[in-house]
């Protein structure tokens, strides 16, 4: 063993603290972005940070702290579900934004939702 048990515990706790702080900072940054960004799609870009990367960082920190394989398995399940559901929600919100005219289409270069482009809007 390179270190004794107490030193390993300290190392994992410090790593967990770093991961938790990083995840919490991403959540905070998303809050700032959701409040200050000017358009719907820009706000959506900010809000997706804590949903995926922030969640992964926080759960890595949590699993370094609890150190049990059953907990790690459930946390991996949480990440998998979030990776499945977050894109679905963001896609539906942005599509509803397009269809109700809340997105400034002159900002989009290129605009793949062009009305005369049947391939992308079908």
């Amino acid at each position: 063993m390179l270190f004794d048990a107490g030193t390993w515990s300290l190392i994992t706790d410090v790593l967990a603290a770093v991961f938790i702080l990083a995840g919490a900072f991403l959540t905070f940054a998303a809050g700032i972005g959701a409040l200050r960004f000017p358009s719907l799609l820009a706000r959506m870009h900010a809000v997706t940070k804590p949903q995926v990367l922030g969640l992964i960082l926080l759960l890595i920190g949590l699993s370094l702290r609890v150190r049990s394989w059953s907990a790690v398995a459930m946390l991996a399940l949480v990440v998998a579900f979030q990776l499945l559901t977050a894109p679905v929600g963001a896609h539906l919100v942005s599509r509803a934004g397009f269809r109700t005219g809340k997105v400034d289409e002159s900002e989009l270069q290129p605009n793949q939702m062009e009305p005369d482009d049947d391939e992308h809007t079908a």
Binding site: G23, A24, F28, P38, S39, R43, L75, T85, G89
Partner: protein, 140 residues
């Protein structure tokens, strides 16, 4: 660890408060859906930080449930509530309700199908949002 938890919880709670402000400001239902997403994310973060603090695993199933159903709100909003008819955001007076009923009756007799034109009308763009962006030159 105590300092780390205090700092992390402060960051997450600040994010939740900012999400609440965005929910209150709108301007559209979709922005409120985004605010709800952020509120769910910060709730998951707060539960994770608390579980990390006291080293317990009983609250982890809450995270599983939240990650499964957290998107239902924004999906339901974007599927069914994104199209806000004109004047839907406030309580109408009885005179306005009667006037709209008369108008839809007239439309039904004229076109043979009632009430769809009003529902198809796109939402008015928010003046507050446009003014803010043009003032800061974000889109230039």
């Amino acid at each position: 660890m105590v300092v780390v938890v205090i700092v992390a919880v402060t960051l997450v709670v600040t994010a939740a408060v900012l999400a609440l402000i965005r929910i209150e400001k709108g301007p559209s239902m979709l922005d409120r859906a985004l605010g709800l997403d952020l509120l769910t994310a910060s709730l998951v973060g707060a539960i994770a930080i608390e579980a990390a603090w006291v080293r317990r695993t009983e609250t982890i199933p809450i995270l599983v449930a939240l990650s499964l159903v957290g998107f239902v709100g924004s999906v339901a909003l974007s599927r069914f509530a994104a199209r806000e008819p004109e004047g839907e955001g406030r309580v109408r007076s009885p005179e306005e309700v009667a006037a709209q009923a008369r108008a839809s009756d007239v439309m039904r007799t004229e076109h043979g199908h009632g009430g769809t034109a009003a529902a198809e009308a796109p939402d008015e763009q928010d003046e507050q949002d446009g003014g803010r962006t043009s003032g800061r030159g974000w889109r230039s």
